[in-house]
Amino acid sequence: MTTESLLWLLPLPPLVSFFVIVLLTNRNKALSHAIAVGAAALSWLLGMVVFVRALQTGMEHLGEEPFRSAVAWLPTGNTAFEIGVSLDPLGTVALFFVAWTVLMIFIYSTGYHNYGQPEGDHDLKGLPPHGATLTDESGHKHTVPSVEPNYSRFFAFISLFAFGMYLLVVSDNLLTLFVGWEIMGLCSYLLIGFWFAKPSARAAAVKAFMTTRIGDVFMLLGLVYLYSLAGSLSYEVIFSPETLEMLADTAAVGGFLGLTAAGLIGILLLVGTVGKSAQFPLHVWLPDAMEGPTPVSAMIHAATMVSAGVYMVIRIFPILSAGGGHGELTPPMMTMAFIGAFTALFAATIAVAQNDIKRVLAYSTISQLGFMIAALGIGAYVAAAFHLMTHAFFKALLFLGSGSVIHGMEHGVLHTGNHDVDPQDMMNMGGLSKKMPITFWTFTIGGMALAGFPFVTAGFWSKDEIFAEAWSVFANEGNPWGLFVLVMLGLAALLTAFYTMRQIMLTFAGEPRTKEAEHAHETPWTMTLPLVVLSFFAVTAGWIGIPNDFLGLNLGKINKFHGVVETLLPSEIEIPALEFSFVPLVVSLVVALGGLLIGWLLYKDFKAGQTDPMKRLLGGFFPVLQNKYYVDELYQATFVRFSEWVSETVAFRWLDRAIIDGFLHTVARVAYNLGSVFRDRFELPVIHNAGDLAGESVKKFGFNFRVLQTGRVQQYMLLVLVNVIAFGALFYYLLEIAGK
C-alpha cells in the first residue's frame, strides 16, 4: 500500500474500536480491552511503518515534498473544501511519540484498572473501585483490588481519544486538526469526569471543558479569519510564501492594535494553545484534571493532548513568525515568549509546594509546556519540537510511574482497610524503593530526564538546546528577550530539578511513613512493562538531538533532529546557524545538578510527622504556593461571581422577566381580547352556523340517498356500467358530432 493510503488508514482503528465497544461489546470486559489494545497496536504498527518509510525517504526530501493526499470534502461556494492527510518531518516526529505513548498507555490501563480481579463488593459505576474481599481456604478474609466497574467504557473513551490525536497528527489542514482537537477536548472532559459520581471529578471535568472552550473559541475565530483571508486551511496553501507575505502585509481587521493579519491570527490561535496546553491565564484546569484515572492524566495531560497545543503552534509557526526576519520578533512571538517563560517559572514555584504526587507532575507539565512556548517565542521551534518529543516520553513515564505508585499504595490501603489515608499524598509514602523496585528505577529515570540530568537523559539535551537558542538570540542578535527567557527558564529548570528530587525522595527514599506504605507492593507486568519501555525512550530520545559541535569538538552529523524539523519553515527564512557556546551549557548543568543537590540535601532524612522543610524554609509564603497563588479563588471571585451576577440579575431579572416576559404578556393580553371579540361577533354567528348547516345538509342528503347502497356488488357494477355508457355517449356526441 502507498504511504498515503496508510496515512488515511492510520487513525481509523481506534475509531472503529470505539464504536464496536460502545455498541456491541461493552458488556464483555476482556473482549473490549482486547479490541481497544488491538486497535491501538494496529495504529502503532501503521505508524511505525509510515515512520520507517519516512526515514527511508530522507527527512530533507520529505520536508521538500511531504507525503500528502487530499480529497474534496465539502463545497464552499465554487471552491471545494479539501481535507486530507500529510506527513512532514514534524508530523513524523509527533507520530513517533504519539504512537509509542498511546500504545503503552493502553497496555498500562488494563493493569491499572485491575483487569482479572474479582468484581467489587460494593462498587458502583462512576466511582473508583473499592476492592473486593476474598476468603481463602484457610478461611480468613483479605481484601484485594477489584476491577473497574466501567472498564469497557474507559477503553471506548481512550480509543476515541487516540483517534482524535492521530487525526490531529496526520491531518494536512487546520480544520481537521481542529476537529481532532475538539474530539480530544470532549474525551478529556469525559475521562476527567470518568468517576462522575465523585463531585470533585465532576467539577474538574466541567472546569477543564469550560476553560479549554475559552481557548477554542478564540482559535476558531483565528481559523475563520485565516480562511477568509487565505481561502483555504490546508498547510501547503497557507504556508506557501506568497500567502505568508500576503498575511504579513495586510493589516489586521480594524487595524487592531496595529497588528498585521498574521499577527492577529497568530495571537488568536495562540490563545487556543494557551487553553489547550494550560498556559498561564488558563492553566487552572490542568491540576484539577488529575481527578481522572492516572492513565488519563498520563495520556491527555502529559503525552498527547497538551502537547497537541504546542504541536499546533509549531505547525503554524510560519504564520507566527511571518513578517519578522531573524533578529526582531513578531508580536505573537513576544507574547509567547512572555507567557511561556512566565508560566514555566510560575508553575514550577507552585509545584514545589504540592504534596499530591500527581499534582506535582501536573504543575511540572505546565511549566515544561511553558518551556516549549517560550522556546517558540524566541524562534527556537526546533528546540521546542525536540523538547516536545522528549517531554512526551518522560512525562508519560512519570505519570505512569506515579500511577503505579498510587496503585501500590492502594494495595496498602486495602490491606489496612483504613480508607481515609490518601494514597496520592506523598507525605504518606516513603521507602517505596524497596517495595516496588521497577517503579522506583523507572520513575527515577523519568525524574532525571525531567530534571535534565546531564549528558545521559533526554531532558538534558532538549533543555540545553532551548538555553542555547535563547542565549544565541541574546548574544548574536542582541535581543533582550533571549536573556529574559534564558533567566526565567533557568530559574524554572532549577526549581524543576529541585521538586523532582523532592518528589523522588518523599516517595521512595527513607523509611515508610505509614503502615500503608509498608504494605505497598509492586504492580503487575502490564503496568511495569510500559514503564520500562518508556524509560528506554526517556533516555535515548534525547541522543538524536546532540549538537554537532558539542563542547566545540566536531562530532560529525550526529544531530539527526535539526535536519528533521528545520525544513518546516519556508526556505527563505533560514535558521541562524547555532554555534556552540559554553554559557547555556553551564547554565543547564548548574541548574540541573544544583536543583537535584538542594532537593537531596533538604529531603534526605525526612521522617514521618516532620513538617515539610519547604515550610520551614519559605515560612509564610508556603501556603501561597500551596494554594497556587489563589488563582482559582481569584477566578472564582471575579469571573464566576460576575457571570453568575450577570446571568442572575441582568439576564434573568431585568432582561427576561421584565422586558421579554412583559412584552410577551402584553401581546398575549391584546391577542386574547381581540380573539374574544372575533369569537363573539364573527365566529359564533357566521362560521359556526354555516358549518352546522353544511354538516346537517350533508347528513340529510346522505340519509335520503343511503337507500342506493344495497351492499350488492353487482348492482354497483351495473350502475357503473350505466354511467359509463351514458357518459361515453355524451362525450362522444360532444366531441365527434357537435364538434364538427
Binding site: 343511503r706 337507500v707 347502497q709 344495497t710 351492499g711 350488492r712 356488488v713 353487482q714 357494477m717 351495473l718 356500467l721
Partner: protein, 102 residues
C-alpha cells in the same frame, strides 16, 4: 386475409359476454369466471393490435403477459376470498353477501 376489425369485434363480444356473466351470475365463482373472460378479451385486443399495428416491437406480447400475471393473481386472491367467505357464511351467493349496506 383477416382484417383487424374481426378480431376487435370478437374481443368486444367476448368482453360483453364476460360482463354479462359478471353482472348476472349469482355465484361469486361464476362472477370471477366472467372476469376471466373479460381479461381474455383484453388479451385478444392486445395481441391483435400488436400483430396489426406494431409487429416489430414485442410490447403487445409483453403486456399480454402482464395481463396473464395479473389475472392469475386476481383469481388466486378472489378464490381465496370466496373460500374463506364460504367457511364463515356457508354461502357463495353474491347477493347474500351484503354486509356493506346501510
Amino acid at each position: 386475409m383477416i382484417p383487424l376489425s374481426w378480431y376487435l369485434i370478437l374481443a368486444a363480444a367476448l368482453f360483453s359476454v364476460g360482463l354479462y356473466g359478471v353482472l348476472a351470475r349469482k355465484n361469486a365463482i361464476a362472477i370471477l369466471m366472467g372476469v376471466e373472460l373479460m381479461l381474455n378479451a383484453v388479451n385478444i385486443n392486445l395481441v391483435a393490435f400488436w400483430r396489426y399495428q406494431a409487429p416489430e416491437q414485442v410490447v403487445g406480447q409483453v403486456f399480454a403477459i402482464m395481463v396473464f400475471a395479473v389475472s392469475a393473481a386476481e383469481v388466486a386472491v378472489g378464490l381465496a376470498l370466496v373460500i374463506s367467505l364460504y367457511r364463515r357464511r356457508r354461502t357463495v351467493v353474491a347477493e347474500n353477501i351484503d354486509l356493506l349496506k346501510w
